[in-house]
């Protein structure tokens, strides 16, 4: 008779997700302990889904008390080991894109009868503020009853925590109530989810687990002041999120793909989303719709103010959007850009307004100008850096890299809209993010010669509910005070926010930082720098690309981050030969290719086992 929670001879007796968040920087450790209660060797699997925005920083295997640590290596170095494994007929995919927000980390090892194994995966991410809150997303999927299952999150925010909540998608509030505790006071917050075996059962007599879904922790911090600067060990981070400013009016052009591939549910969902968006457009805003298929059609010849009468007319127009023929992205975009430029030149839109262009497409350009490089050049020249382009890629049948490059070149961003029942909500959600610009042309300035290695410090917009984060290194780590200016254009006037930091005062405020982890600002700076370098790399060419790649690689290796340039290798000596695991990070473009990554669980006993990944 095997104890409860034993499946196929393997008992996973403990799973703990330990999260420590300091100033939005999350350090998560997922530890699973299992024992092989069978009479023969068994394979034990460890699956973790982690956010796409996270970087794995460590993975260790402990078998019978012996720990095998992970080492971050340049991807090419790891690739050679991979090729060696392939030549021996064994591959294993460790990390692959999984759904909208997650990547899946998978590893298996053979465990001798009676032996114990501990898997420990560590990853870090900077929690980004969206719609007024930080969200930490944890996937819970233990697959069997676990005697000791626990999520333990400690949050430390020097500004003080203003709200904290946690919810699980897979369990009712009644059951959650006794297993979940959440509390916050001052700078500290704590969330604990510790369901007993009985609480994990899908029914009172069941032996399978109901823990399968999303566990989300959300919180926000106090904002007595619009900015907050923290300095530790010579590194600083500056958070900026002013409140109470009026919204800058928008001139917004929606460039919508109505080609044949949008037919059916996609066009219906687009119509629904646009109708909802029209409900939220403010009267100070100006707008227009450009539809492109083989040809380009427009709702109006020029941008019009969002008066009730115009919105009513716009809704009628949207209701009558129909799909037809091919995809002429180039002409659609150029028409929208021309309209925004003309409105500004003719002064038909408010002087203190900001222009935004949002394109939605579900496919690649296949008529008119269809060469991606030429479209990029045309769009870049037409926009001339004057306003951002946001690209929404609907579904998987498109060149997402092209859309992303196009958006990044024009100070915008790309977002994938997943083909699902809630696609209309995803579209609306994106609009809500950019609907309320409070500042435009935001520049964060620091004293000259006082800082080094600054992360991005200029942003075309600051949107309500978001946050600008800038990090860097101080030239003189013993300086007494530190001053930062944030300049931006508001709806009514130009604003300069000044943040002065008294080092003594700040030391007192951060004295509890040891409570979490001391070098968090340095790691946050490294994370942000790598993330921005990788983004910049997408648009770079030639020597510039090489330099950026080298810089990002150096930082990834130095700070032990698994990025698209590195892999983590875990080597376990076995039978005089190495058993190797590799963790990779796939890019967004890997979504459509996930099926090509395989994980072979069958191994030939005559050959040493290899665990491998095939990333992007």
């Amino acid at each position: 008779s095997l104890p409860e929670g034993v499946v196929d001879g393997i008992e996973v007796y403990s799973t703990k997700i330990s999260c420590k968040v300091t100033s939005r920087f999350a350090h998560n450790v997922v530890t699973t302990r299992a024992v092989n209660r069978a009479d023969t060797a068994k394979e034990v699997s460890f699956d973790v889904e982690l956010p796409k925005t996270a970087f794995i920083t460590n993975f260790t295997l402990t078998i019978d008390g012996v720990t095998y640590p992970g080492n971050v290596k340049e991807k090419e170095v790891a690739q050679k080991q991979y090729e060696k494994a392939v030549s021996q007929g064994k591959t294993a995919g460790l990390v692959k894109a999984s759904g909208r927000k997650l990547e899946k980390f998978t590893v298996s090892v053979n465990v001798a009868a009676g032996s114990k194994v501990t898997f420990e995966l560590t990853y870090e991410e900077l929690l980004k503020r969206n719609k007024g809150k930080y969200e930490m997303y944890l996937k819970v999927q233990p697959k069997q009853l676990v005697r000791h299952f626990e999520i333990d999150a400690h949050i430390f925010e020097p500004q003080g925590i203003s709200m904290l909540d946690a919810e699980a998608s897979f369990i009712t509030n009644d059951l959650l109530g006794s297993a979940l505790t959440k509390s916050f006071s001052g700078k500290k917050g704590h969330v604990s989810f510790k369901p007993s075996l009985d609480q994990q059962r899908s029914c009172p007599t069941c032996t399978d687990s109901l823990l399968n879904g999303d566990f989300t922790i959300v919180y926000d911090v106090n904002r007595e002041s619009p900015g907050n600067v923290q300095i530790v060990n010579g590194y600083f981070v500056h958070f900026f999120a002013p409140q109470g400013l009026p919204v800058v009016p928008k001139n917004i052009v929606f460039v919508i793909d109505v080609s044949g591939s949008m037919s059916g549910r996609k066009i219906q969902q687009t119509r629904e989303a646009l109708l909802k968006i029209l409900d939220d457009v403010k009267e100070d805003d100006y707008l227009n719709f450009i539809l492109f298929s083989t040809d380009v059609t427009t709702w109006k010849d020029h941008l019009v103010q969002a008066t009730p009468a115009n919105l009513k007319e716009a809704k009628t127009f949207v209701k009558n959007i129909h799909d037809q023929s091919m995809t002429n992205i180039n002409d659609g975009l150029l028409k929208g850009i021309e309209m925004l430029n003309k409105a500004r030149e003719d002064h038909t839109v408010p002087e203190r307004s900001t222009s935004i262009i949002i394109m939605l497409t579900d496919g690649d350009a296949n008529t008119g100008e269809s060469r991606p490089e030429k479209i990029q050049e045309n769009v870049r020249n037409a926009i001339g850096g004057k306003f951002p382009l946001y690209n929404l890629g609907f579904g998987n049948n498109l060149n997402y890299n092209f859309l992303e490059t196009l958006a990044l070149e024009n100070h915008g961003l790309a977002r994938r809209i997943y083909e699902d029942s809630d696609a209309n909500l995803q579209l609306q959600g994106f609009y809500e993010e950019v609907a309320n610009p409070l500042l435009t042309n935001v520049e964060v300035e620091y004293p000259e010669n006082a800082i080094l290695d600054l992360t991005r410090n200029s942003y075309p917009h600051f949107y309500d509910g978001s946050e600008i984060v800038v990090a860097g290194r101080l030239v003189d780590r013993n300086m007494d005070n530190f001053k930062a200016d944030v300049k931006g254009h508001g709806a009514l006037n130009d604003l300069t926010f000044t943040e002065e930091v008294d080092m003594e005062e700040m030391d007192a405020a951060l004295k509890e930082q040891g409570y979490i982890f001391g070098d968090y600002i340095e790691r946050l700076w490294a994370y942000l720098t790598i993330e921005q370098l990788l983004e910049k790399r997408k648009n770079a060419k030639g020597d510039e690309k090489e330099n950026i790649t080298a810089e990002a690689l150096d930082l990834s290796l130095k700070y032990h981050f698994v990025t698209p340039l590195t892999s983590m290798v875990v080597t376990k000596p076995e039978d005089n030969e190495d058993q190797t695991s590799i963790a990779d990070k796939p890019g967004e473009e890997a979504i459509a290719e996930t099926t090509t990554m395989s994980f072979l669980t069958t191994q030939q006993s005559s050959q040493s086992p290899y665990y491998y990944v095939d990333g992007d």
Binding site: E224, S225, P226, Q243, G244, L245, P246, G490, A491, L492, N493, D494, L495, T496, F497, T498, E499, E500
Partner: protein, 240 residues
Amino acid sequence: PHFIIQIPGKNDSICFNIDEKPGTVLRLIQDPVTGITVTGQIIGDKRSNASSRTGKTYFGKLGITNAWMDFRVEVTTEKIILGTGAELSTFSWLDTITVTQTGLSVTINRKKNMVVSFGDGISFVIILHQVWKKHPVHQDFLGFYVVDSHRMSAQTHGLLGQFFQPFDFKVFGIRPGSDPTKPDATMVVKNHRLTVTRGSQKDYRKDASVGTKVICWFVHNNGEGLIDGVHTDYIVPSLF
């Protein structure tokens, strides 16, 4: 509230108090030419109630408007709201910020003061006085200083504004008063003969906690005889 009028060329100052019940709004400056109006609302100390005339009073809220710019600023000891019509920005005294637009500049210096300037020649400073939060009597209050008024018109009026134009006064007959350290005198100003007392007030522009002593002639009875009309003439129904 203590009013201090420094007289250019005279090297002397006149001061007076306005005692009114909490909630009262006073017109401090009104210039029909530049469109600028400044008002202040009185608050009482922690012991006072709405009808109290005996407790300490201070300015707890100030309003500055420029009718021609359709611009207004509302300053309390907690926050600063500024903008046009319904388009308002809210800031806190914990901010250090400069807001600029054509013909206007507002600078908030965290927990200290704010400077409101309308182009060159009109500049006001508002001082935040913070007291110990658990003080049994006092509460935070505001000070208002006109640091530059040379672009204000000759038609400017209000409890402070009426003194922007040069005026003359004479003080004579200095004699011992009821307090031996504060002599009385006779002042002739605006065709009135007033008994005034030598005293001092503090200018907190440079240092909000200690202040700089300003010696002045104190005009009794809410500035009666010094100000045009009586002080109740300056009471307005609301800040804006």
